[in-house]
């Protein structure tokens, strides 16, 4: 992609500074938005086909329109910067290298929906970005971009940063709201949705960092331009994080709807697999998405295309898996992750995640039985539709997709009584096979 929109300062050391941002047309979108009516801004975002970039892919404009317009209490914007999905590392780049784009997005969003306060909920491990964002916020207050009557409108806006006490589940929007209120991060039952009853029981918009950062370009250059950068129903440029044994892992900006093959093979992006590595599978958008095999490499990176094959675009951060990886071990590793991060509220997730992790461990260690595969399929299937939030169901997708795509590896473990990938074996008593 020739022109960088979201990542234009990623290569500069001073991209986080207000003067650099303004030299490149920064806060013009906010000034433009100040001249627009609330409805015009919302309609523009709706027309841009901007999809939520946190994983669920809900159309941003539609989500915005759920916020009630006339309310007595103050409304809130919560920016989800609790980027914790395994394999995902894109939001931190925006927060670290281009915080003003995020802040400008917050300002425009607040103008559009009359949001009085904004919280940026930052993952605890990303503490260093808080300092950068906080400096940027100070710069904005000095300039009068934040505070009362911003940009000549009657809109007041204060932005606060909040460091998460640290849990994956606080990335779930209602878990985040609980965390913001100082409570343990346990997702709430929906409905009511945060748009009606959110943080401090007030109407609250929760959006991902990248979603908010996309708002200034939408306003600046128009919804049509933004929508045309992507494919149908998936507008705009997108940040893709590529990881795994590829030549150039990292974060790249590319249009929505680019194929996975191009991301992997183009020298502009991933540059192909490392020497001697052969692609065996890829996870399209963070660990919660179902794993896909190389025959799906020509899939578009769009929510619809990925859902067709039972997976999800998720965060758009692709993890590539090579031929030497034990898929049982990978599935077990992910199951342990969900086990560790389950908040413990709902019975199926609380006890089912740990159970499946232990069963997967047993299979990986060669102690599995054939009926364990049916057990896994059946038991994780019961988590899917019976929990408060989506953490438990994520494990269902993971286990089902690994069982579905790589049954022969599970069978091999059970039949051989040990892991066929010795270097990955859990059993430390056996020497790793010589290379």
């Amino acid at each position: 992609m020739d022109e960088k929109i979201l990542s234009k300062f990623f290569d500069r050391d001073d991209g986080h500074k207000l003067e650099v941002y303004e030299d490149h047309g920064g806060y013009d979108a906010a000034r433009k938005a100040a001249e627009m009516s609330r409805e015009e801004i919302v309609n523009e975002v709706k027309a841009s086909n901007l999809r939520g970039r946190g994983g669920a892919g809900f159309p941003a404009g539609v989500k915005w329109s759920f916020i009630p317009q006339e309310t007595e209490e103050d409304k809130y914007l919560v920016v989800n910067a609790d980027e914790g999905e395994p394999g995902t590392f894109k939001d931190r780049q925006i927060m670290q290298r281009d915080p003003h784009q995020l802040i400008e997005g917050c300002i425009i969003t607040a103008m559009a929906l009359d949001l009085r306060y904004c919280y940026i909920y930052i993952r605890g491990e990303l503490k260093f970005t808080e300092d950068i964002i906080q400096d940027a916020i100070e710069e904005c207050y000095d300039k009068g971009y934040l505070g009362e009557d911003i940009f000549g409108t009657d809109q007041d806006l204060d932005i606060y940063t909040h460091i998460s006490a640290g849990a994956y589940i606080c990335g779930e929007e209602t878990g985040m709201i609980e965390g913001l209120e100082g409570k343990p991060g346990k997702p709430r039952i929906k409905p009511p949705f945060p748009a009606i009853v959110g943080v401090f029981d007030a109407p609250t918009l929760v959006n991902n960092v990248e979603s908010i950062a996309c708002v200034p370009p939408v306003i600046n250059r128009g919804a049509e331009w933004f929508a045309n950068l992507g494919v149908e129903k998936n507008g705009g440029p997108k940040l893709y994080g590529l990881s795994g044994p590829i030549k150039n892992p990292g974060v790249y900006e590319a249009p929505s709807g680019i194929t996975v093959r191009e991301l992997l093979e183009s020298p502009e992006y991933g540059g192909g697999m490392k020497e001697g590595k052969e692609l065996k599978a890829y996870i399209p958008g963070g660990s919660s998405c179902a794993v896909l095999t190389p025959d799906e490499l020509d899939r578009e990176m769009s929510f619809e295309a990925m859902r067709e094959v039972g997976s999800n675009l998720g965060t758009g951060c692709v993890t590539f898996v090579d031929q030497d990886t034990c898929m049982v071990r990978l599935a077990a590793r992910l199951a342990h992750f969900y086990h560790h991060e389950s908040c413990g509220q709902c019975t199926p997730c609380r006890d089912g995640t740990g159970w499946s992790a232990k069963v997967l461990d047993a299979i990986e260690a060669g102690r599995g039985r054939h009926e364990d595969l049916d057990l896994l399929e059946d038991m994780t299937g019961q988590i899917e539709h019976s929990t408060i939030c989506a953490l438990g169901p994520s494990l269902t997708f993971v286990v089902h997709s690994y069982l579905d795509k790589f049954p022969e590896e599970f069978e091999a473990h059970i039949e051989q009584g040990e892991c066929p990938f010795p270097s990955w074996s859990l059993d430390d008593t056996k020497p790793a096979a010589a290379e």
Partner: protein, 553 residues
Amino acid sequence: MPKVTINNEEIEVDDGTTVMEAAAQLGYDIPHFCYHPALSIPANCRMCLVEVEDNPDLQPSCHMPVNDGMEVHTESERVVKARKSVLEFILVNHPVDCPICDQAGECKLQDYYMAYDAQESRLRTEKVDGVKVYPLGPEVVYDGERCILCTRCVRFCEEITETDELTTAQRGDHTEIRTFPGQELDNNYSMCTVDICPVGALTARDFRFKCRVWLMNTTDSVCTGCSQGCNIHLDHFRNEVQRYRPRYNPDVNDYWMCDPGRYTYKEVHQDRLEDPMVGDNVVNWHAATQAYVSTMDEALDTFEPSERAMVLSPQVSCEGLHQARRFADEVLETDRLYMGGKPGGESDDLLMNADKNPNRRGIEYVFGGLEAVDSFESLVDAMEAGEIRVLHMMNKHIPTTDDALRARFVDAVADLDLFVLQAMHRGEMVFPPDHRGDFPAADLDDPTLVELADIALPSSSHAEQDGTFVNEDGIAQPFSQSFKPLYNSQPDWQIFGRLGDEMGHSLSYRRLADLREEMFGDAEDDAKPKTLDDKQSKSRAPADAATQPTPAE
């Protein structure tokens, strides 16, 4: 009003009714752990999931409000499978130590397992270790392995007592119930958490390992700890009360009762006056009655009616008091009546009343007001002035904490010509008992009044007789006999009947129902305690219980 179809049956319900409530109205009992009718709804146990048409996810019926036109299935294949799975998930880390679990026999997990799961175990994995004997407070012990994390106890402390001692700590399957740092579960209602715990995670220190629940019989009764009159299940085994559990009554105590009240069951068994006594001699009832007749006959001849007095006990049932009224009137022919009972004590805003007597309103009802009954202090004054020579006293509680007054009373008793004591206990029971339900030894060792009594007659506790208490709000609450009178005791109404008959008056009744008929039958409506209409009914349903069936606790 929305109409909902549940299992192809249509029902119209009020706005805001949940699916579980609507199903209960149709007679479907949806299994649940975390839902409790008196607490908020976290919908975390997932046991009550039901299938709602056009909704891909199963929905918690305890939380889901009914919408017009909604179609719900509570027994479909998918729901049955989900219940089975939830039970299986719970058992993943549950120790299944039922043989040593106090909850066994009254455990929701056991019941639901038998009803909905009962399959061969598919579990081969190791279980997560939890704490096994973890005291949360002086009364309650926690078992982290049995806990299903329904958070009923946490919500009870947040919403009912508003003391906020408990929370969940850690996360995932390592989550356990804990007190906040520096706190312990030490409120007046801490043992209610044991009642509402659906499994054996919370056990009461007092009841741990004491008795298997299936051995016990249960009688509907009323707590005698204070004038609130909390409705209770009186659980007993082999003529011994094992524990009290609150019995739902929305007009009186809802689902709760206080810890000190719970411990008053110990009064039934501790330091009882076992046999009739004449002077220092243990005698049988025949001898005691004969001694009473001869001494009292002489006293009635010797002393004027104004020199005879009776101390009434608000610890005694209305039936006993009715007989006391007749006895004072017809036998003693005196109107010198004084108020006895326990001294006042601690109170709070929830259920605990300062008046530690269950039936003061009963005296008011039986005697047509409290004007006829004088204070204990005036009794002591009258005794010291020598105005009273003969005293018949019900129960040996001295209704004051003023040591000087107590001493004056005891001294004055020593000067009486005839002192008859009709009491449950030998010693003075101090209320409330200390935290473990024990009574301070010094008070138990003080049988002064029994020693001073010319005749001492053992009366029975409320567990040993049928009766009625009228609580502070004027609600008459019948209670039932759990077991026959202990030792050689007799219910107060029978003692009065026996003595009265022997004294030549016709005071006894063949049946308690006859006495009740006489006592309540011709009362003016507004003078009647509120619920006397069903005084003889065997049904113990709370007075104004919702007519609609509601989900179980």
